[in-house]
Symmetry: C2
Subunit: 443 residues, 2 copies
Amino acid sequence: MKIAVVGGIAAGTSAAAKAKRTAKDADIIIFEASGYVSVGACGMPYYLAGYVPEAEHLIVRRPEDFEKTGIKVKVGWTVNQIDLKEGKLYAEDSSGKGEWFSFDRLVLATGATPRKLNVPGAQLEGVFYLKGYPDLLKIENYLKENNVKNVVVRGSGFIAMELVEAFVEKGFNVTSIASFMPVSLDQDIADGIPSLLDSRGVKRIWRDDIEEVQGDHRIKAIKTKSGEVIDADMLVVALGVVPNSQLAKDAGLELSVNDSIKVDERMQTSFEGVYAAGDCAHSYSAVDGSPVYLPLGSLANRHGRVAGTNVAGGNAVMPKIAGSTISKLFDLGVAKTGFNERELERRGISYKKVVIKAKDKAHYYPGSGTIKVKLLWEERTGRLLGGQIVGLYTAVKRIDVISAVICMRGTVEDLKNVDLAYAPPYSPVWDPVTVAANQAAKD
Amino acid sequence: MKIAVVGGIAAGTSAAAKAKRTAKDADIIIFEASGYVSVGACGMPYYLAGYVPEAEHLIVRRPEDFEKTGIKVKVGWTVNQIDLKEGKLYAEDSSGKGEWFSFDRLVLATGATPRKLNVPGAQLEGVFYLKGYPDLLKIENYLKENNVKNVVVRGSGFIAMELVEAFVEKGFNVTSIASFMPVSLDQDIADGIPSLLDSRGVKRIWRDDIEEVQGDHRIKAIKTKSGEVIDADMLVVALGVVPNSQLAKDAGLELSVNDSIKVDERMQTSFEGVYAAGDCAHSYSAVDGSPVYLPLGSLANRHGRVAGTNVAGGNAVMPKIAGSTISKLFDLGVAKTGFNERELERRGISYKKVVIKAKDKAHYYPGSGTIKVKLLWEERTGRLLGGQIVGLYTAVKRIDVISAVICMRGTVEDLKNVDLAYAPPYSPVWDPVTVAANQAAKD
């Protein structure tokens, strides 16, 4: 059995490794367009911040590690055509020399591409995106070769905020431009983030956007829609990503939400024997069963594992997901699971909500801080629809308890009844999550 | 409606406060034998360690705080007789002057008493137990008035270990005597604890016991069963507790596991209108439904809330519990939920197990440490029976995810499918809990 895997970062390598373990004698080949495979891309902001001493530490495994297990890896090879009926794909190496490869089964793990800034000057030198490891090296190189003082970050998601932190930590003058309230939390719980950034000296230009990137061949300044002009030696754009699904579409595969490749619960596409995984594919929501596009490292690996099992003849199901995310922003942590208010409204799901404020540890324990927990649930049934937590960064991983209840289709009553471990260094005797659930369950 | 509450530390005050909120015009009176109410007793080791600057910080609310909400508090009054049929109880103040009080309904929150050391010399000055706030003041006073250098802690539970940490932090020479492997974890996961204590200079005398406490009127040394003699200026005994259920038994109430007061899921005793809560009562296990005696602060407050609702005419059910516990031991955290191997064997429940070792954060993230996760489950159904975690103390609160699945009667497959929030400062892309669940679910 010949299995081809297109893409070798997170989902692709997970799929290949799992396929090899599932069918030891399968003939597996990975095509990766960049020069690197198996990169911990989520760690890139932490390298830029200086927390990770060497960029290479982000590389989990190298081509030779896969070759050792019997998986072939073609690094620098771009797949640009797939003939599903004939079972063959056309790939080119970095010199443009191409070749047809045949396969019995296929995994598409083509990833995603940063959403581009579409304004005059966006092509100037010094404007960057950060998606893959090569992007990181380019930014690093640019910082080395130029006297960068003023850095602008455009975007409002977790990665944009992690980049803001990184550049502040490195001593740059940092401006954050965001068209709406940053991170995917609701306004009533995220209200501590602006003052945090202010206290760290970040210039915030929010509810505004870039009108023009100014400069000759290199960026010099940014002009916003409201007319402000900010000196800028570098701009990093983090506006989210769009799935790399054109190759799949051209091959005749159906697309789904956000133009991601349509998959079933086994990660199989609309063509039998062809699977998709990672940032090019979607998941299904544990809240309402709908397809959701969430390009997250954790899900990419889960997707890959399921696709890898199935492509090799096993039988695995990708669980419906709560869509849990978490991020550290300086000393603050923000976490979300399920849907937020905007997402619920967009889906026409009516909900009730509660936001509570509590201590994250016993009130007398040193270093205890304030934490906010928000819950969203369906009034009629009590079913949990979402949760959000903001607090000291060490305290927000408790989002996972809310996620567990959502993944098991539980109610606020179920959450209230979870017996959370208590000791003064870890929580107050009533954990903030329980406090929120008690209120939601009207206890 | 006259409601009497016997005991005013955790469960009693929770019950009284909740009863008052449930029935605003109820006439509520708390009897507390000690001089204090509403104490965060779990914080006492941290005060001894010097982490909490003032012992008074452990006091959550004072009698006057309750009086303000219309709850009467009789501090220093000991209840020593209850006539359930007549609806009256006899209480004495600290001078021994007694009085009968009538009630319509009753909550017993009489707590528990430390299990006593029963060897020659156990009555000597300098031998202490630590259960209530007065015990803490006695220990503090003794330390002030005596030139204490050598402290021995007898016991193997979480509190004993917290005391070991406290006395090490204060610079004493500390000896830990334990008759079995400390903390309620299985051997295969707790094996890092001895070397941790060794590295902190603790003298460990384990799998041994005290034969005699030596001294004149004050402790001078301890002789162990194996014949070792250790200098000791102070001994703190933490051998667990026994429920204070004699008063209830004398009143005709039925007892249950470990001689705790028998209660139903509404915390009602065998006599209608009489409730019990906290360390004097038991809970029911979410694993097998059996009554379990777990004298924990978190459960005491839950018990109290349920008893308080019901005694005031409401209708609340105490959820079945996983029995989650957690403790910090220097930089290490240990956590447990559900049953351990010994507890499963005692109940005749057959189980499968897995122990995994992983990083607690992304491998490249600074400060990432090693964590061990153990899962126990029923082979036939996959139902989760227990979990244990040992690792950096900031990393072990993820036990709550395992607890959530146990509380919802889930399987290792359910645990595997929980969508845990990922970012490099919080976990590897596969959370250690998921890694363990994947192995258990044979994925």
